[in-house]
Symmetry: C2
Subunit: 252 residues, 2 copies
């Protein structure tokens, strides 16, 4: 079961459509539209929904009471404090609370007010709790569909990273890395890079940290070893002046 | 310092404007627009920005390289895995990481691709890490400004609830509550409510939990005590039949 998103008197079809789209993006499906200003259906909503299955299943109601009849727990979203004594949640904690309520088989609704005015006080009074987002007081007017989007994302946000993002690429083992480091440092040693010699341990540490930081795949280790060989190859002709570690120059 | 939101080749002015608006809502200010399809300035962006100060300060660039020249750490947003070996973050963890980097005086940029195609692979290659949102695989096409909105909200999300939402209303103390409970239960006792008598402790527990659950203000305690008095007042005329606890009926 998922929470119902209840749009109370929304003005713009675009926002209804954008809300339906982002609900679909984040696995929500229960959209209820109460007395939309421009009637229903609304072609702008269809266009903004970009094919969201949520819009097709959206339910239309004449008044708020009939839209939330079977709900057992309501959250009211508001940017304005109403001076009512009710629990106030941010998006994350509200969603956490919602998931607990839904496990208790409660039917949860989230009320969203109209673009201009937000929810009327009577609607906030119906709610068990308030959700408010941390908007900047100097520019607090959040778009209706954006408020839906923030809550919809929060609904999905606990999930682990999609497995498609897990690269199967095998990472280099410590042994692989050690061999790369030793190869690199041997060639640098031959090139006179470690100067003065007492600084060598620190220089080695700094070089190794460059690679340790990001991690290397097995393939990248092979690539780098090839690159070291390629760089070292013609080196008979050149050398380093003592004291110019790291700055390769032909010797006059 | 805040992260730069870098829109790479955005198509619709509406989305640029909506991104600027939601960035302003959540305390962000650094918007960079790279080669917008419909040129710049764009009246649709202005309209959707709803007066956001972020749009006025937005910077326009011809190419991505010049837009991110001074950045030291880049996140690429993508819904599609690219098979590149990079750290992958969800929005929350990316923002957490970003805040650490910014404390290290790093300049962080977040790259957002065009509506149709997302970021090109070359842009993802530039990035240190990937951000992906937990979209439903069956309807994964997230609106560009929505992606900006989710990250902008995440940026602000750690903040405590705005103090304006903290009602100064004094809550009832345990003593106040106890007096209310005792008053209530005394009147109920007189009305024959606690039947059979051995059930009284459980009935008391259930009644008290109704009020304990939500908490009561001092004023609400006074209101309820007045209500109990008002209910008990005319009771000489009525009583409860034994065994009908809770269901008040006149005695024939």
């Amino acid at each position: 079961m998922t929470p119902a998103f209840v749009l109370v008197g929304p003005q713009l079809g675009e926002n209804i459509g954008a809300a339906a789209r982002v609900m679909g993006n984040f696995g929500l499906s229960d959209l209820r539209i109460v007395a939309p200003r421009d009637g229903w259906p609304n072609p702008k909503a269809v266009s903004m929904a970009a094919g969201s299955p949520v819009l097709e299943k959206a339910q239309l109601y004449d008044d708020l009471e009939s839209a939330i009849g079977e709900c057992t727990y309501l959250f009211a979203t508001t940017a304005r404090p109403r001076g009512m004594v009710k629990p106030v949640f941010n998006a994350r904690d509200a969603i956490g609370q919602m998931k607990t309520l839904i496990k208790e088989n409660q039917k949860v609704g989230i009320l969203f007010g109209a673009e201009k005015s937000g929810l009327p006080n009577e609607a906030v009074t119906m709610a068990n709790a308030i959700i408010t987002l941390p908007v900047d007081r100097s520019f607090s007017s959040l778009n209706l569909s954006m408020a839906c989007g923030v809550l919809a994302h929060e609904w999905a946000a606990g999930a682990p990273i999609d497995t498609d993002f897990i690269t199967a690429e095998p990472m280099a083992s410590r042994e692989d890395l050690e061999r790369l480091y030793v190869h690199f440092e041997e060639e640098l040693e031959k090139g006179g890079f470690f100067y003065p010699p007492e600084k060598k341990p620190l220089m080695v540490q700094n070089l190794r940290n460059i690679f340790a930081r990001g991690g290397l795949t097995e393939q990248e280790v092979r690539t780098l070893r090839g690159a070291i060989k390629a760089l070292a190859k013609g080196r008979g002709k050149y050398g380093l002046r003592k004291g110019e570690a790291g700055e390769a120059k032909p010797i006059e």
